[in-house]
């Protein structure tokens, strides 16, 4: 009995710790989603010469809070002909697939929940797992529009895994590791080994300079194209415009979440916005120096040193992530939607060949170095 209790207590500490971190991240995602939905409304409004939410709270800041309250208070309706278990579990599957991705995200020098040495693989795998949730939602709803949305989204997400994966691979080949934290460390002042400007050996070594110049996109210029490919593919992976065909409003009403309401709908929303930030963060980690500051050390002005640390790390990484989310929104309110076959054309005939080319360049670069 005593040993059982000791064992239990010994277990309790780490479990509580993990739960605390998980709750922290979960509440962060929830808060961020509130802000992002508000931002999306404002961005779309400003682009369209409107004003956006204004009435709820100062400058409409509480609008999304009111919305989430409404969603929480709504009656939880299950369609009579729905496949109930699948239907109920789907939003949580979708959300957890996104949520788990944050576990391996390095937010600062020591700030990473799970410093996995296969972090890249882990994130890619779970991003693909999201598809299962979408399919459950579409099939479980027993609604034709939802089914269309689900089938479309599965085809889309799985296809776009390829160019996104190849773009990531071109980084991994050069980094020589799958650990996200190590990939980040290579891109800053603490990097081991020389990093020449633009990767050209006759240009000066910039590893002491830090900042912008040590980021992967500048250290290996071809990764700029890889980053563009990754960014476009990531738009498709999180089902955002112009690749929002799974929830194409004008065609499929709301796609796979047509039948959802209340808190389950809120979870789809959390997943969508959480996913947007996650792919932005991954892009930042792989290509844009992760939590490293963009400011270089210039002689006695040690900007990079001054702006590096746990708090700075979170700040820079989130800044980069939010910038990506902003571009997502900007593109959404500018571009029309692609059709299914054009989506596949873009994936297989444009992005994938270029991504393969980038992998080849990376492979030669890595072996030549």
């Amino acid at each position: 009995m005593g040993s059982g209790m000791e064992f239990f207590i010994a277990l309790l500490g780490p479990v509580l710790g993990v739960m605390f971190v998980a709750l922290l991240v979960a509440s962060f995602i929830a808060l961020y989603t509130l802000a992002a939905v508000y931002a999306e409304r404002k961005v779309s409004a400003f682009i369209q010469d409107r004003v956006g939410p204004l009435e709820t709270g100062p400058r409409g800041l509480l609008q999304t809070v009111a919305d989430i309250l409404k969603l929480l208070l709504k009656e939880d309706i299950v369609p009579r002909m729905a496949d109930k278990p699948l239907w109920v579990v789907a939003p949580f599957v979708v959300f957890s697939a996104v949520f788990v991705g944050y576990a391996v995200m390095p937010f600062g020098p020591e700030l990473v929940a799970a410093n996995l040495n296969v972090g890249v693989l882990f994130i890619t795998a779970f991003a693909a797992f999201e598809v299962a949730g979408l399919l459950l939602a579409g099939w479980g709803s027993n609604n034709k529009y939802a089914l269309y949305g689900a089938v479309r989204s599965v085809a889309q997400v799985i296809s776009y895994e390829i160019p996104a994966g190849l773009a990531v691979l071109s980084v991994v080949l050069l980094a020589g590791t799958l650990n996200l934290q190590e990939i980040v460390l290579q891109q800053g002042i603490g990097a081991s080994g020389p990093r020449h400007l633009f990767g050209l050996p006759f240009l000066p070594d910039v590893s002491a300079l830090g900042g912008l110049f040590t980021w992967n996109v500048l250290a290996y210029p071809h990764l700029l194209i890889a980053f563009a490919i990754y960014f476009i593919a990531s738009l498709a992976e999180v089902n955002r415009a112009p690749f929002d065909i799974p929830e194409a409003e004008s065609e499929l009403v709301a796609g796979y979440h047509t039948e959802y309401g209340g808190i389950k709908f809120a979870f789809f929303y959390l997943a969508e916005y959480g996913g947007m930030l996650l792919v932005g963060l991954i892009g930042a980690v792989l290509f844009l120096g992760g939590w490293h500051s963009p400011l270089p050390n210039l002689g006695p002005v040690r900007l990079a040193d001054w702006t590096t640390g746990p708090i700075w790390g979170i700040f820079w990484l989130l800044l980069k992530g939010f910038a990506a989310v902003f571009v997502h929104m900007w593109a959404r309110w500018t571009l029309p939607r692609l059709r299914v076959d054009q989506l596949m054309y873009l994936c297989w005939k444009v992005l994938t060949p270029f991504a393969v080319a980038m992998v080849v360049v990376s492979a030669f670069w890595a072996s030549w170095r």
Binding site: D49, V51, L335
Partner: protein, 276 residues
């Protein structure tokens, strides 16, 4: 497009046009710091407002409605002579009027017309009103007007019926008694209402369309109409045939009254799906 232009050209155009669009929307995003003022259209600065947000924050501010605005009917009952013109012209029959012949002198309206009738009932059902303004145009004393008051929604539909009578029901009863007493001597009582006007269509004389070949024996009034029309000149060659030719033939067999009254035998509706 893909086939026409080739892979690289297509890719280039794609990137260029997407970039153009993104630049354009970003410019609007930046412009959103400014906003246009809610000036009315007759203000000279209406089209000189800055680019930017255009939304009018409605309950807090509004673009003034022009004086011509047709948003709510109002009857200045002191000037109403109960002529029923408005009730007759209304396309949706939303005005109900009941008048009682006055035995006493009611004076004149503000434009000098003699008033002879009490208006026992002048109800406008604004829920039925189609805001066409025809009633205000026929009003001889201009007592019935469209005002620019808007936003008068109600929770109860009965509140949308506006009562403009100048008599209470009790007074109306008394006036009616007086009128009847007065009428018992010389003439019959006058009591009219919009509801008593002939029901739609029933008062029409029976009429059967006759096939009139154009230009030959058209009725006098119509004779000018087709002749004065500009000559029909199709510009492009493969156009559809103009309607003028051969209009009379198909009508000839359906024109007799007997043909109109004969009911067609119902045919079962057969749904056929077209093969793809």
């Amino acid at each position: 497009m893909m086939a026409q232009r080739g892979y690289w050209a297509n890719l280039r155009t794609g990137l260029r046009t997407v970039w153009t669009g993104l630049r354009l929307t970003f410019r609007h995003l930046k412009q959103a710091r400014r906003r246009r003022a809610p000036v009315p259209i007759w203000d000279p600065s209406y089209f000189r407002q800055p680019d930017g947000q255009v939304t009018i924050r409605y309950p807090h501010e509004a673009i003034p409605v022009p004086d011509t605005g047709r948003y709510r009917l109002h009857n200045h009952i002191d000037d109403c002579i109960g002529c029923l013109k408005c009730a007759r012209v209304c396309p949706v029959d939303c005005i109900t009027i009941e008048t009682i012949k006055a035995v006493e002198d009611l004076g004149t309206t503000s434009n000098g017309q003699k008033k002879r009738l009490w208006i026992a009932r002048f109800d406008i059902d604004m829920a039925k009103c189609c805001y066409c303004g025809l009633c205000t145009m026929v009003c001889p004393t201009e007592c019935l007007t469209m005002t620019k008051v808007h936003d008068f929604s109600e929770f109860d539909r009965d509140n949308m019926v506006y009562h403009f009578a100048n008599l209470t029901p009790e007074e109306a009863e008394e006036k009616r008694r007086l009128a009847e007493a007065a009428a018992a001597r010389p003439t019959a009582p006058v009591r009219e209402g919009a509801s008593e006007k002939p029901a739609a269509g029933s008062g029409k004389p029976a009429f059967a369309p006759r096939a009139v070949p154009r230009g030959q024996s058209a009725p006098p009034g119509q004779a000018g109409a087709p002749a004065t029309r500009p000559a029909f000149a199709p510009g492009a060659v493969p156009g559809p045939e103009p309607e003028q030719s051969g209009e009379a033939e198909p009508k000839a067999e359906t024109s007799s009254p007997q043909a109109e009254e004969r009911k067609p035998t119902p045919r079962p509706f057969v749904f056929k799906r077209k093969e793809s």
